[in-house]
Every structure is written in C-alpha cells, then in structure tokens.
Symmetry: C2
Subunit: 392 residues, 2 copies
C-alpha cells in the first residue's frame, strides 16, 4: 500500500482546479505574511514594484526555459480563463495585419476552422458564433457526434489555406477524456495557416513544438497553478496590426487584446499578482523535475489506470478510442449508476476524492495531473482492483 499524502491531505483527482505540488504550497504558506524579507505578502505588493517585477519576469523566464519557447513568441499572462481566450483568439486574429491582408487579397471574409473533439473545443466555436463569426466545422466528434476520438485525417473538412484565418482545436478535452497525439493537428494543416490550440488541461505535461503553432492558450488551473490567470503563447507576427481604428479592433476590449498585453508586459492594468506568483513557483517546480520527466510520469500514471480498465473492459467501461485516450482525465463508466455511486462513496472513505464524472456524462473521471504522485495512481488502482473483485 502506498503511503498517504502529508498534512492529512487526500488524494485529489479533481479535473480542475486541481492538485498542486506540496512543496509549492509549503513555500506559499511559509512566505504568506512576509515574502522574501519584503515585509509584506505577495498579495499586498504593488504590481509596479521592483519586487513584483522580479516575480513576473522570473515566472516568464522559467516557463520559457521549461517549454523551450522560441524568442519570436510572446508570453502573456491574462485573465478570463479559456473562455476569455475563446473570444480573444478569434478577435485578435481577425484584427491582425496578417489576417486582414489575406482577407483583402481574397476579397471576402476568411473562415476559421474548428476541430470539435468535445465540450471545450465546441465552447470555443460557440463563442465565435456568439460574436458574429462563421466558423467552419472541420469535424464534430466521430460518427454521430460522439466525442470518443478523432476521425481519420482524410475525413477532415479543412478550408483552403487561402480562405482560412486559422485552425483551432483543444489538445485535451477534460470532460470527454480525449487527448490528441503531439503534432497530430499541425502535421495536417498547411504551414501558412496559424494553428491555435487550447492546452488548458495538458500544458506542462509534455514537450511542445511551439514553433509550429500560431498561438497556445491555457487557463492555469490544472498543471500551472490556481484559477485566475490565463497563459497565452503567441507568435509575434500575429500581434501586428495595420489599422487600430478598424471595426475588427473596435470589437476587442482592452482586457482581451493580445497586442496591448504584449506591449505592456502583461500589465495594461493590474494583473492577478498572487496567482501569477504561485504559477511561477509551479514553473520552477516543473523545471526541477524536467519536462521529459513530467512526460514520463504522466505516461506511467495513466498506464497504471488504463491497464486496470483494459483488464476488465466489461466492468470499467472506457469510451475513448485508445489512440486518443487522455493521460490527464481518464473517464469510464461502471455497469450501473448504483455501482458508480458506491464507487465514489467507498473511494471517498479512503481519502480519494473529486472522482465524479462531469455532470453531462456521469460515471467516473480520474484526473492525473502533474502534481499527482505515482502513489496516488497506485492507490486508486489498488482500490479499483478490490472494487472489481467485490462487485463484478
């Protein structure tokens, strides 16, 4: 049996906000009333102070090292979560010089292409429709709109490159447990078309070929830190504007304006200072582990649980095609809703919590983010085995 977590803590399988490294929480706790001899909490520090400047520029520098972010990409810390970026991605791209020039050449509005693999990519597409845009559906699930994987590339209905402002997808769907293999989308898209990717829920869990993306957006509250900060990594040429009085820019509030954040060091207004500080500590932790080691661990944790699922597929009923199974959010059903309720109740009694599937799907969802130790995965697998033995 694996040793229990420290401080009377539970095994926290929440899909997000989710478990953070204990060493990061300890450091936050230690410095809460007096950070590094400044005589104040980071919460109480002016965002324009030298002390805070070190924190935010340090966080960016660490992240750049961890993810090997090329120098022609900007790193922005924004607010509004993934949902804010659903709007921002569309509004900023259509306000960019690149897209506006392409549109002038075409002589009519460009489309934007959405790969729909679950709730979050669908949400991104819905926001574009809400804002008056006309996204093209490259695909919407597999077969009858069931989000169990990705159709073969030759069935993707991508627009012509000269008619397409960008291609958008979500790298990992937390609700449906669908994750794309690295580079699956950038390999399929013409290099002239920027690929915009929502990596909210698997960011920092494996290396990324950032140079192949137009922009990566990610809410912090899975692998990066507390909820309330959103990371944007964007190729600088996409930030250029040719006309700041255009209708496209007029639809873009300051708080969603990537160019404005870029030109002000993410401070067109007060940033979520403390949340960025905690993210910086998580980035430092990630650097200490190493991104390849984090990838190795994510594969090892997920394999443990999937092996148990695959050993008894009639009992642990996975939905997702093996090629697209998420390493972050492992979803399955049990034979009956009663067994699922029993599973959750017995797990909770053993200090394993937040395992309930998303309300739209029911069932069980085991989220295994970076900060979940291997012992946590071992503990739930031991429980799954026992539960199977007692209830099959």
């Amino acid at each position: 049996m694996a040793s229990p977590p420290p401080y009377g803590r539970v095994w926290n399988f929440s899909a997000g906000p989710s478990v953070l490294p204990v060493s990061v929480l300890e450091e936050v706790q230690r410095d809460l009333l007096n950070y590094g001899g400044t005589g104040m909490s980071v919460m109480e520090m002016s965002h324009r102070s030298k002390d805070y400047d070190k924190i935010i520029t340090g966080a960016e520098a660490t992240l750049r090292r961890v993810l090997d972010i090329p120098s022609n990409y900007s790193v922005l810390f924004m607010q509004g979560g993934g949902t804010g970026e659903f709007a921002a991605a569309y509004l900023n791209l259509f306000a960019s010089k690149a897209v506006r020039e392409k549109q002038r050449q075409l002589g009519r509005p460009l489309s934007c292409d959405y790969l729909v693999t679950g709730t979050w990519s669908k949400g991104g597409m819905k926001e574009v429709r809400r804002l008056g845009g006309h996204p093209r559906v490259v695909f919407d699930g597999v077969g009858e709109a069931s989000y169990t994987g990705v159709p073969p590339v030759n069935e993707w209905r991508l627009g012509k490159p000269e008619e397409t402002a960008f291609v958008y997808y979500c790298d990992n769907e937390t609700v449906h447990g669908v994750e794309l293999p690295p580079d699956a989308v950038v390999d399929a898209v013409d290099p002239s078309v920027p690929v915009i990717c929502d990596m909210s829920s698997n960011m920092l869990s494996r290396p990324i070929n950032i140079g192949r993306f137009g922009a990566i957006i990610a809410g912090a509250q899975k692998n990066m830190g507390p909820a309330g900060v959103t990371l944007v990594i964007v190729r600088r040429d996409l930030l250029e504007r040719d006309d700041d009085s255009s209708d496209a820019v007029r639809n873009l509030p300051s708080v969603l304006d990537w160019s404005y954040f870029d030109s002000t060091g993410s401070m067109p207004h007060t940033p979520p200072t403390f949340t960025i500080y905690v993210c910086g500590l998580v980035f430092k932790w990630a650097e200490e582990q190493g991104i390849r080691e984090l990838e190795r661990r994510r594969e090892a944790r997920a394999k443990l649980v999937y092996d148990e699922i695959d050993a008894h597929p009639e009992f642990f009923r996975g939905r997702v095609d093996r090629a697209y199974r998420s390493r972050m959010n492992l979803v399955f059903n049990l034979p009956t809703p009663e067994l699922e309720a029993q599973f959750l109740a017995e797990a909770a009694r053993r200090n394993m919590v937040q395992l309930k599937g998303h309300r739209s799907l029911g069932g069980i969802r085991v989220s295994l983010y970076n900060a979940m130790p291997q012992e946590g995965a071992e503990t739930i697998v031991a429980f799954m085995r026992e539960f199977y033995a007692n209830n099959r």
Copy 2:
C-alpha cells in the same frame, strides 16, 4: 511611538494591490495545505464542489450584509479588473432591454455621460471610445483639465435623461487623490438614468446607498482582497435582454457578460476560486469591524495626515480641493524633487514603503486603506513632522 507591525512586516502604503488585514493572512496561511479538514488547499478545489460552493455563496452573503445590498441587486464575481468593467459597463448597458427600448423610443443612439475626475474615469471613457461608442464629457477636470476636484453641479453638462443610457463616474481616483462625497452624483442625476460607479478603491470604506445606483463595479485589490477578482453589484432589471441576437450582444464576449454571470452564479466558467476565498475572509473581517466603524477609522486616519499637510501647506503641497480630498489616497508634493527622493528613502529606512506618487504625477502618495491600522497613520505623521523640522 506606535508599535511596529508583526512578523517583521512593514507599513505598506501601496495604492494597490495593498495591505490586507493580518488576521486574514494568518487564516489563509493556516489553512493553505488543508482547508477546514477537506484535505486540500482552496486552490485545489473544484469550483463545482460543495465545499467551494459554501465559500463563494458565503462570501456573497457576507458582503450583502456588510453593504446592506438590496435583494433586487445581483452580486457578480468576475475577472478583468476595473479595465474589464470599463468595457463591460458600456457593452452590457447598451445590450440591455432598458437601453434598447429607450433608444427605439428616441429613434437614434443614446449617449452615455462621463464625469472625468482623473485617470480612472478617463480610462473608462477611453475604453468606450475604443469600442466605437460616443461618450459625452460631462466635465473633464476643473478648469484646464487639472484633476484637483469637481466643478460646481450647475456647470455639469449632463445629457437630457431621455437621450442618456447611463451616467458614469469613479468614486475615488487613486492617482489624483480625488474622492466624491457620498451621493454627490446620484443627487445630481435624474433618477430615470442609471448611475454606474467605479468604486474599486474606496469600496467597503463607508456605507453606500446602493439602491440609488444602476451598477457598482470594483476591482478587489484595495479594500477587498488580492488582485484578480472584480465585483459587480447591478440592479437586476438592467440585466434583462429582449434580443440575444442583437448586434449589441454580439459585441459582448461571454467573460464580460453580466447577465451570463448572473444566471450561472458567477460561474459561466472557472472563477478565480482562491482569490474569491480571500475576499470572503476580508468581507468577514469587515463585518466584524462594522461598516460604520470602518468609515470612522478611515476619516480618523486621513484627518491625522491631512492635519499635518494643512499645518505646513507651503512644504506639504496638496493639490486637491478640500471638499474632494481622498481618504484613501492622500497625494502631495514637497518643494523639490530632491526632497521627495529623500523623503521616500528615509521613510523606507523606517519601514514605511510604497509611498511614491504615481509615475504620471510624481510626489508622495500615502494610501490608507481599511487594513492600515491607526498606528500606521500615526507613524507616518510622526515621520512627516520630523522631516519637516529637519528640512523646512
């Protein structure tokens, strides 16, 4: 001599993010790795969990009691700070049924009225222009656009009520140190026109006649908690829409949509969970003090410093008309920039920090928010006296 702050802390006169109550920070610290026996940090808690639901609904309930918020007002916790709400106020009002009906009756677009008392009200107006709106300038400073007070009401160029969507102002200007007396604006505006007020920097420092406002917006990072959450208190009838497919709604991203936040309990997406939790603790602290006691203390602290300024007005050079001097941000210059630099350096050596005036004005800014004890005001006044004696 007043006793020094605990934990080796300094006297923190930051204009924001700013000092928080020590007892709140102690509670945050104590519960950081295991909140209330849940076995996890609040940072790690699903926003959909029962434990977190108690935190966010508790925060709202406490705030409603502290400020005596009428039941026909909604309380929203959003992101994007005051700057986000500059856009949101304009976009939501112009998407509302009330404004759209009034506009149909008038047969042409309504205007919106801006009282410009300093940087932040000007920022609110600029954001409306950016978004293609045409705000009317009710006044822009006193005399030659100097932000030292407010012109007499009979000089305000308010629009006709039937032509005006709303009147907007900022209750306290942190940069220029201008604060309006309670009800000064609502008394001057026709009751049929909603007044929208930015109270980011003096919220919770005195009672508010909320029932006289259309909406109050406030970034948290002064009297309410850490940066990263924005409070909106809005009269419910202004949230009604008659046509969700209108162009007005199409310009309104989900993350700025008051109605969407209202209908989802501030959770159209993951809220800044930890920041809201800390705000809830500050609300509880404010309730324990009592809003009238907080008002009494703010007046007492500010009087101490202003009395010293007024004793030597040729040395401590205040800019603002007495009737409009801020109780939150007390700004003054010294006779020379050299003396100002010396003042800041000597103050820092005595553990009084973040006293530098805003970069646009220079000079000294003494911010005295709720969490600044009377001893802090006494300490800086003692220092001012000594500095005057040594350098007059």
